[in-house]
């Protein structure tokens, strides 16, 4: 249900037809795979004997056991209250991912040894590059949105050319253009400023469109009412339009921030020692780059989760008026 209501209905995962279908699908799916070489098959050894020679019976038994466990799991979760459901499903998916990473046989001591440098050099660089870029991009976005909405031909033309150009070019290309192109004009900038400039300009263009659509989503009557009260442009924007537009703008902007955090890895091509650069470099000599890549992936994920939480908090703040 999109909004919680008081209409009583049986829970979907407890309806017999749904449970039966789920069971059937899982059974067929796992029969399609040969699971006889896995550790789960080892667990089933008392039932099916030597897994590798158990044949069709072995396959069926393994798939049956998995289907029973899976269905039981889903049905039981169905009984739990909402918060528990979310927590348990998160935990289970997380465990599945950990099991997946287990298959790489990562060397944990190596990760532990390199983690401090990965954080002190890599995460710090990634964070400050993205943080500065986010601030600049937001400023550009506000200016760009206002320009795109204005009736001034120059402002509109410049802003629309800007959004079109920077949304239309791959970010990597922009990094190259700014790093290699600007010196042709006599401006030699270093790798970090070049990266920040590229990220800000690219994300500024995307966010311009987000801000513009947010501002446009406010009914025209609000603007007219405000103007008729004698409010000027700035005051109308600040007190009437933006406060109403922000709840619309925040979710896609949060998306942009998360995506920028990871796109900041593109500046590694111009030799900035940020998280992704180190992830690709540190394990190179000893051929342990999978360790570093997965560690970096986890760090990126954790940083994104922080941004997600912040976004959720701000959204809650702006949705007070809609809460019951």
């Amino acid at each position: 249900m999109l909004y919680p209501d008081t209409v009583e209905a049986e829970i979907l995962v407890h309806k017999p037809w749904f449970v039966a279908t789920m069971f059937g699908v899982v059974l067929l799916l796992f029969m399609a795979f040969n699971m006889s070489g896995t550790s789960f098959a080892e667990l089933m050894r008392p039932v099916i004997g030597e897994p590798s020679v158990s044949g069709f019976y072995g396959r069926f038994a393994i798939a049956f056991a998995i289907a029973v466990i899976f269905t039981l799991n889903v049905v039981l979760i169905g009984f739990a209250p909402l918060k528990f459901q979310i927590g348990i499903v998160w935990l289970e998916l997380l465990l599945l991912f950990i099991a997946f990473f287990e298959t790489f046989h990562l060397s944990l001591p190596f990760i532990r040894e390199k983690l401090p440098f990965l954080i002190s050099q890599g995460v710090v660089t990634t964070l400050y590059v993205s943080a500065i870029s986010i601030v600049i991009a937001s400023v550009i976005a506000v200016a760009g949105a206002v320009a795109k909405l204005s009736s001034n031909g120059f402002a509109y033309a410049i802003a629309s050319f800007y959004t079109s150009f920077f949304r239309g070019l791959p970010l990597l290309m922009q990094v190259y253009l700014i790093y290699l192109g600007l010196p042709q004009l006599g401006f030699v900038i270093n790798a970090v400023p070049a990266g920040i400039l590229a990220l800000s300009l690219c994300y500024g263009a995307y966010m311009t469109e987000i801000f513009r659509s947010g501002i446009q989503s406010i009914d025209r009557g609000q603007w007219e009412a405000s103007r008729s009260m004698g409010f000027g442009f700035t005051l109308t924007m600040r007190r009437i339009i933006l406060p109403q537009a922000l709840p619309v703008i925040i979710p896609p902007t949060g998306n942009q921030f998360i995506s920028m955090l990871k796109d900041s890895s593109l500046v590694s091509v111009i030799g900035v020692w940020e998280l992704m650069f180190l992830a690709r470099t540190l394990g190179q000599k000893t051929f342990q780059h999978m360790e570093m890549l997965i560690s970096a992936a986890m760090i990126y994920w954790m940083l994104s989760i922080c941004l997600e939480l912040i976004q959720a908090r701000i959204e809650r703040h702006y949705h007070r008026s809609k809460a019951r």
Partner: protein
Amino acid sequence: MTIWNRRLVTMAAAALALGAYPAHAGAVLDRVMAAGTLNVATDANWAPQSFVNASNELDGFDVDVAKAIGKHLGVKVEFITPGWDIITAGHWAGRWDMHAGSMTPTKKRAEIFDFPAVYYYTPAAVAVHKDSKAKTLADLDGKVVGATSTSTFEAYAKKDLTLDAAGAPPFEYKLNPKEVHSYENSTTAFDDLRLGDGVRLDAVVSSLPSILDAEKAGYPIKQVGDPVFYEPLAIAIERGDPELSAKIADAVKAMKADGTLSKLSEKWYGQDYSKTN
């Protein structure tokens, strides 16, 4: 001159020269000597030539050679690690003064760079998966071969290699692949090769040292056939500074004469690659 004045002058000069960056003779050398630091560009992902070591610092053969050259010039050496395509694009604009990253001097590259000195030669070889049935390079006819993008290995696989440096031994194309896949570095190519014989790749062309290194690290690969060519590898600088070029050439010559290069090569490769075999 203030920075702005200088910038205006450079801009005007750049406009006049239609984008050609002006470096008057000796300009780079003067800057290096004045600053007391030689900014060296190198790859951070090219073990054992240059890589990040256990104490998180750049290390390797190229790095040691660059440091030795710095010592000859009497300046400190600092390293910058831009991507290979950024370095080979030219227009360094004073961001770094010298490239010590095993660059092969080719005619095309000589249009952008000066190569003051060849400091060693690497045998290039072909690696296949351990399970491969290929016994000779001829067995790889019509197969899929991987190599680092824009490297000489890729050029060799595509039969587009020019080795015109002084002292480059002659070679012939012994590989007739159906398709050449480009990779960002040799490790990603080895990663595809390790998936199995012919899964994504049948063979990888790379430097013999990196193949041996990967093998030592447990990659299921092996060398097939003899080295396909000996690649001369040189220090590169931007064109237009004969003074710096002469200084670097002197330094490398001295290092060859007093055995420093041989010693460094022994240290990193276990063999003396500073001479052609």
